[in-house]
Symmetry: D2
């Protein structure tokens, strides 16, 4: 049984484990003040091409989202997200638990644009309603789509014009940036958003996300918030060593490229077999729409999640590739798909 269920089914890239082993008995400071964390931050700043950002290593995506959003907002302010946004659906009300409403906009491709935001602002007009203040986007989105530079620029401009904070959830930013459709660089993102994070958990780390705070107004006292939410690891080195390794050269991007190229093969094979997709995903999550009988057969050899019932006989499934996905598994999946169809 090979799993395409997600991009966190395996451990970490071997170079990361090696780095952990090699540094294991060296004594360091705790709480992210160790030399590895400092070096990781340097490496990441180099990749972003800017020294003027504040960087924090945090263990998981929900944790970054809840720490950042609750630190950035005042009590009456709310976040706007696509209805498919991770904070709206799959974080057990983590943002609300910090006191803030999450306002959703229904979209089918997972992406927000200025007109979406405007529609929210138009109906939130006085103190009887929350004040929309932060725009949360994911790149790649929860349905695999990505933002173009033009789209992000337009969103950024709108947010700045309306005094809104633009925050990008980058749990799968590696895959987005390495997509064949992408025209954004880390430095563009840095120029266009107020804060974003670069996901490690889904791109080869054991755990860890890199929060990058660009807007200076949002930097003050940020470590207090990390600690208060239980996210300041005593052995911060665990995050530091991993990200030092991922960003000391292009390892982070190589891993994302591998995930994407495995997805590209899958996508091509599925298209060739005549199937369509629920969303136009150029990244490492694919949502092919398949006959239920076919899905039943595939489930005998492959693990994956069903995503949405399309009609009585077809369902969209989710296939996720990762840094660890083996090409032979991908090819075998396509072969099986073809064979099953020809029966």
């Amino acid at each position: 049984m090979y799993s395409f269920r997600n991009d966190y089914s395996e451990g970490a890239h071997p170079r990361i484990l090696e780095a952990l082993v090699n540094t294991n008995l060296i004594q360091t400071e705790g709480y992210g003040e160790d030399i590895y964390t400092l070096e990781a931050i340097e490496n990441i700043k180099n990749h972003i091409g800017s020294d003027d950002v504040q960087i924090h290593l945090i263990s998981g995506g929900t944790q970054v989202n809840l720490i950042a959003i609750s630190a950035f907002l005042r009590p009456h302010e709310a976040a706007i997200t696509a209805s498919s946004g991770h904070i709206a659906v799959h974080e057990t009300g983590a943002i609300e638990a910090t006191g803030h409403k999450v306002i959703t906009v229904d979209v089918s491709d997972g992406k927000l644009n200025p007109s979406h935001i405007k529609s929210v602002l138009d109906v939130h007009t006085d103190e009887h309603m929350v004040k929309p203040k932060l725009v949360y986007i994911s790149n790649s989105t929860e349905v695999g789509t990505i933002y173009s530079k033009k789209e992000l620029y337009e969103l950024s401009t709108f947010c700045r014009d309306h005094n809104l904070i633009l925050f990008m959830d980058g749990a799968r930013l590696g895959s987005a940036l390495c997509s064949y459709e992408n025209d954004l660089k880390l430095n563009d993102i840095k120029a266009l958003v107020d804060a974003f994070y670069i996901g490690g958990t889904k791109n080869g780390a054991l755990l860890g996300e890199v929060l990058v705070i660009v807007n200076s107004d949002l930097k003050e006292d940020f470590r207090y918030h990390i600690k208060q939410k239980g996210a300041l690891l005593a052995k911060g080195r665990l995050l530091g060593i991993q990200f030092k390794e991922l960003f000391k050269d292009d390892l982070f991007f190589s891993l994302a490229k591998h995930a994407n190229s495995m997805a590209d093969i899958l996508r091509g094979g599925i298209e060739k077999a005549g199937f369509t997709f629920l969303t136009c995903s150029p990244s490492n999550q694919l949502f092919p729409v398949l006959p239920d009988c076919l899905i039943k057969e595939l489930e005998k050899k492959y693990a994956f999640n069903t995503w949405a019932k399309i009609d009585d006989n077809t369902t969209a499934i989710r296939l996720v590739t990762s840094w660890a996905t083996e090409e032979k598994a991908v090819l075998s999946f396509i072969d099986d798909l073809k064979n099953l169809m020809s029966r």
Copy 2:
């Protein structure tokens, strides 16, 4: 420069890293539903000698405290702690951030007894004040002391008689249980408290604590709370593999014993040199009271924290040993102490 600053200066015990390497490319379920986590839980239950507990692996101590306490209490209920308790001082208001007051009792040895709790209950008499509902204790405490079976029994009886939840922070439970003064076993603790945790971060793991919920009333829906607070790791295997290893035999206890035996040597040497201690600690944290001039000399070769100014010329420092502390470092410290005194 050798550090006695804390018990999380190094990485993990080599057997743990080995286990991570050996399992690295095996695909597993996410979010703590992997086979390693399940096995770890089995191993831990065996050590506790009970199947009737609910076990969750969570990445850090502050996180366990805030998740458990906010899950256990209703909005108007409060926690009682010694003034030195970790939740009172060193968690950046993490408990208050979930909405609950932390009521402190001044004690010098870090331990609570029934009369302390009674004094709190006596002044919280109606709905104009919070309702004290949970008693938080640490074992070993933040000043190195430990609870005897008799003390814990009395506290437990009092709590049950007064409908209070008894919760034990076991960030350093390994060291407490392996102390020469200890007469408690895991199974005793299980019988006497409503919930407790067994600390991994400070006893050889990269990160991770084992929350054990004993009281059935507190078990319902607990995973929702872990997720909501951002603590449900996608790669839950990282915790599972570590704790499987620590508890598949007696590794967890061997590591604590080593830490304690290093502390015993230190304690003996310091006593022999004629110094006293701020607290009677039989565990891996020692608080010797030393002349400031001596401290200044020791700081040239050893890293440690000063803890409390005693008078104009003396200060209590904190020395912490761990699973990784080298005997030669300990012996060298004592030698240096003696030599400095004879000058």
Copy 3:
């Protein structure tokens, strides 16, 4: 300029002021433990026809909602409401500020039925999402509609079958119960919901709502929550005296009947003039759809709110009548409507 803007434009019914004046210098206990509050509670229990409920007098509707919902739910649990529900829209995120997500269901008539609730339960399946636990309904709703006994019975049965708390916001319960379409009595509501409130602010009181807790599991320590949220008035007598007066005979219902009969005249006149309504409201809020030019003329003599743009030339407005609405104002409005049309 006569205002149909809301049902809280005037002070209180004269009998209430009289009662305040007559009792003014009598000394009482504070915090709702005065004799007037006790008598008010007795009177209300008589009207409900049950002694087995817990009653609290609280100053406003948003306050009741936030106190009750946060007291009733555990941190990971959420409320379900119609998208038009007051807690979803017009309370500045009050419920989220206590940590709970508000899940909305899109409906046009402001009412929830079991299939709405089921659709929410169907997609909230595990600990990665909040746990829907409380169903919030308003009667009358924010768009003037009311629940029949059959509808409430079905909702109640569904909630009990699915272990959900059913909570009724009765800010305008008086008008609902006195509507010509109504077949519910206070005692029916008591039998079908877990908690509800009877609104005073919008039915002749200076301020104040009567929270009735039916489900015994929800009663414990409730006054702590009132105090914690700043809602335990030192001079609780202010609420007690008012509700004693409103419920010592049928004053509360007489006032609601007057409001409704004024609405009935308005409704009839508007229908006769050939206009339709956005919703079928049998209560004291009417939403006629009028030509914009006509609205412009009416605004010269009457104050009211526009509610929703219907098309380029027509808009739904909101007209609210109350215990204090004068018949001559209502008749004058209809006259003016007719005259404006005949021009």
Copy 4:
């Protein structure tokens, strides 16, 4: 039985009720946008002698405290208070329920000075602890003492030098300002604190406190916070009419003077009878220390609270006078005291 239990045993000053009656059927805007509220605010600004403040009318003291403090602080910031402070003891954890720690300083006279604040700052040094940010003081304090201009100036200077917000709870500010010992004016307070409130509930109003925000940084969006916490009364006129009346001339101060003069008589009589006081209170709360046998006798004719056991035979009681206290009751109390002693 005459009650000296508190200053909220009666209703409102008759002029206030009269104003409510006289305006009763005039239609106004809701939510504090009525003309009476606007006039009240003008009157209060005239008394403060400044137009450069933001004023909000809010129904109770706990509500003002929790709204203001949660609006002023970021999540990791904490309030400092005397251990006797109302927010520390008698608000059921209202501040913690908004997420903020309340740090207490033990004092016997209820007052804070710069050295108290400094001692807190000295131990809160990094992100492992909350960041003390707001200093909460009461004037008069919970034990009847008041701040002199010099004391308030020193505190204010210290707070400004250390970037701390100074907030004054003025639930009994009227009595403080009208004390024979007082040298502060409203305008001085305005110049020295960042925000304060003027209590109406305990000085002749049915309910209501006047929050005055001086520091411009704290004014933005404040009405959102009032609404979110359930404190924006639909019939805001109820507060507006009362405070318009209290501040259209010197009624507010006349009432406080009466309360104080009644306290002065009581204090004098008790001193003359040879008893001492727990605190040196020059305001309307007195804490005489009396023999228990005497207290038992007094309780037959007067209602009051015991405050603190002093020794086996004596107890401090609390006597509170108000705008409504009758001179004959006060004289009778003193007579009875004398007579009881001579027995």
